[in-house]
């Protein structure tokens, strides 16, 4: 077990190293002078001396390795420089908005799990029935519609036409549950569809297996067979995929944030950073997302081995 853990840890460390290196190369090896990226492109420009001084400060005279080492050490101290648009440290902006994005991500994930797995189980048990058809239809729709289209349709139907939920926004420092329903649903539907299909197919497979037939043959009650014998074995695949899914959720959250004007990182990274050419802010966000993604992928992997120890023997 220790060997396995150490291996996983090492792998994710290599991933972090490789991915940050990729970003570093992308930023520093490109047709533009990095100074042009890290300095606001308005105003009267800089004198020759201050331009040179800027180069010194960014460490242009150092070898590339040293530049990378400096950059990565700053990254680990969460120092991403100063945002060009806001003129405050990038980390402060991100930290202030991380909460909202995380809430949305977790909410969407819960929505996916709560909708996807039970529906899958019921659809498998009632195979061929009307519930099965409806669930599969909804899953097909969910997998084909991008989150922003689902979001817009929901705003149109449930918010503009029927007025059941607010069309977007989030009250600061206060939990208003209505505001969470539509964004989380838009974010979670696609994944719920995937989970539902996965749960359904693995449940069907288990229900067809020998040990379930055995249980039925010896007269175990139907409910007991389904919940005690079949369900536990059928849930391995969905739970694994559910954990892996969480790593991808913040990416989706960015888009949903735009649709529902959710005050999270997505709005900053996509709208402010891109429209104002605020490169330090964009870069900081990318690195944070990257680290987050690697951490969660590793965690998911570890959980997987705890749930299903057979994986370790691969």
């Amino acid at each position: 077990m220790f060997r396995f853990l150490a291996g996983r840890f090492l792998t994710s460390l290599i991933s972090v190293f490789g991915a940050t290196l990729a970003i570093f190369i992308l930023v520093h090896v490109n047709p533009k002078d990095p100074r042009e990226i890290f300095v606001p492109q308005s105003g009267y420009g800089l004198t020759r001396e201050s331009w040179e001084r800027l180069g010194d400060r960014l460490g242009f005279d150092d070898p590339a390795v040293v530049q990378y080492a400096n950059w990565i050490s700053r990254v680990f101290r969460l120092d991403f420089g100063v945002s060009l648009g806001y003129q405050i440290p990038v980390w402060d902006i991100i930290a202030g908005r991380l909460g909202a994005t995380l809430q949305l991500g977790i909410g969407g994930w819960l929505m996916a799990v709560v909708l996807g797995i039970p529906t899958g189980v019921v659809a498998a048990v009632l195979r061929g029935g009307i519930f099965d058809y409806i669930a599969r239809f909804l899953a097909l729709v969910g997998q084909a519609a991008p989150a922003f289209v689902t979001g817009i349709v929901m705003i149109w139907l449930l918010s503009v036409s029927l007025g059941w939920f607010p069309a977007g926004g989030r009250t600061p420092d206060e939990f208003v549950w209505q505001e969470y329903v539509l964004p989380c649903l838009a974010l979670g539907w696609g994944s719920a569809a995937g989970l539902m299909r996965l749960t359904r197919s693995s449940m069907l497979e288990i229900l067809d297996s020998e040990f379930v037939k055995m249980a039925r043959a010896k007269g175990v009650a139907n409910m007991t067979t389904i919940f005690k014998h079949a369900l536990r074995n059928a849930l391995i695949a969905p739970i694994t995929s559910m954990l892996l899914l969480f790593a991808g959720f913040l990416n989706g959250a960015l888009v949903v944030e735009i649709v529902f004007s959710w005050p999270g990182i997505g709005q900053v990274a996509l709208q402010d950073a891109v429209q104002n050419n605020d490169f330090p802010l964009l870069l900081g966000t990318v690195v944070i997302f990257l680290l987050y993604f690697v951490v969660f992928a590793t965690l998911a992997d570890l959980m997987y081995t705890i749930i299903d120890p057979r994986v370790r023997l691969r």
Binding site: T11, I14, S15, G18, A19, A22, I23, L26, V27, N30, P31, K32, I37, L140, V141, Q143, A144, A145, P146, A147, F148, V149, I152, V153, I155, W156, V160, N251, L254, V255, I258, V259, A269, L270, Q271, A273, V274, Q275, N277, F279, L282, L283, T285, V286, F289, L290, F293, V294, A297
Partner: protein
């Protein structure tokens, strides 16, 4: 034959229903329509792509253009609706141009700038085809080549490739697309063509999808006797890979490509939607959906029509891909 048993002894309705259930006939019709739209669309589009007519603003589905109504009396659209088409002012050339458009049908309505949504959809359909034609194809070639070599040689090369693919998968591509668009601009020069950065990024997303699945297949194939036989006969590694392994994995390549298409088109529309993809005057469907979002109160069709178009295409691709997978390579059910 299975088809023979189905077709015998039923009404024509029953038989055609069975046909529709058995083959992905509706998805294929939709996809062929998309292809035709992309090829001839820009030439047959009834309205110009970027030019809007102020009197057509927010016009609903299946309404006639009011491009050049004579504004007698009132100036609101309601006041104008019963006027004749005519030249507002002989001296104004723009008004004369508009006269041509007047009275034509806006099949899917007009957007907030008075541009015809149907014409813009026709123009935008080319982008989906470009995604498939450029990003998917080049990603497919790259991914398959990498998978063939790493699967065939195994060992340290394979280890490096697998690790690399893992890292690649860890990159949040929405953001990578943003970074690349910021650094290199929305268009890149490849020889003489200007290619959208987006297509390039999507290629970088696409190739990884092929590596894992195909590598696993190559592992199986390379152990087979006919590969050993050709090695004994003195074939070089490259020849074995090209002549003996490639044909064996072709089915899988096609299936994976089809299954990945819908994901790529989703990614394209999402990136265009958030502004990291195709840039606004070009009517990518994602861009159109985003532009219409602000007018959801007065004219929901501006955003709903392109959104529905994306949904329809992705749905068709999913259906078609699933069918093809079950047909060509049912083992892939587990993976994709």
């Amino acid at each position: 034959m299975a088809t023979a048993t189905i077709t015998s002894g039923h009404s024509i309705f029953q038989r055609s229903w069975d046909f529709v259930r058995r083959y992905p006939i509706i998805p294929v019709i939709i996809l062929i329509t998309l292809l035709i739209m992309a090829i001839i669309g820009p030439y047959v589009a009834p309205f110009p792509r970027d030019k809007g007519f102020s009197h057509d603003r927010n016009l609903g589905l299946w309404e006639q253009s009011r491009a050049s109504y004579i504004p007698l009396g009132g100036t609101t659209i309601e006041d104008l609706s019963f006027r004749e088409c005519g030249i507002i002012d002989e001296s104004k050339v723009a008004a004369k141009d508009n006269l041509e458009q007047c009275g034509k049908l806006h099949i899917l309505g007009a957007d907030h700038a008075g541009r015809d949504i149907f014409s813009r959809l026709l123009h935008g359909s080319r982008i989906s085809i470009a995604v498939v034609g450029f990003s998917l194809t080049s990603g497919m070639i790259l991914g398959t080549a990498v998978a063939l070599f790493s699967g065939y040689y195994g060992g340290i090369l394979d280890e490096i490739v697998t690790r690399f693919v893992d890292i690649w998968n860890a990159l949040p591509f929405l953001m990578v697309a943003l970074v690349m668009t910021q650094l290199f601009g929305a268009k890149v020069n490849i020889f003489v063509w200007k290619v959208d950065m987006l297509l390039f990024v999507l290629m970088l997303v696409a190739w990884v999808g092929f590596v894992r699945v195909i590598r696993a297949q190559v592992f199986v194939l390379r152990e087979l006797d006919y590969v050993a036989a050709s090695r004994v006969a003195g074939a070089s590694d490259v020849r074995i890979i090209y002549r003996h392994l490639l044909p064996g994995i072709m089915n899988t390549v096609i299936v994976v490509a089809t299954l990945n298409t819908s994901g790529l088109i989703l990614a394209e529309s999402t990136l265009s939607f958030v502004g990291a993809g195709i840039q606004p005057p070009t009517p990518a469907w994602g861009v159109m959906t985003n532009e219409g979002r602000d007018y959801i109160l007065e004219a929901p069709h501006i955003t709903l029509v392109p959104g529905f178009a994306i949904f329809l295409v992705v749905l068709s691709l999913n259906f078609f891909g699933d069918w093809l997978r079950d047909r060509l390579d049912p083992r892939l059910r587990q993976i994709a």
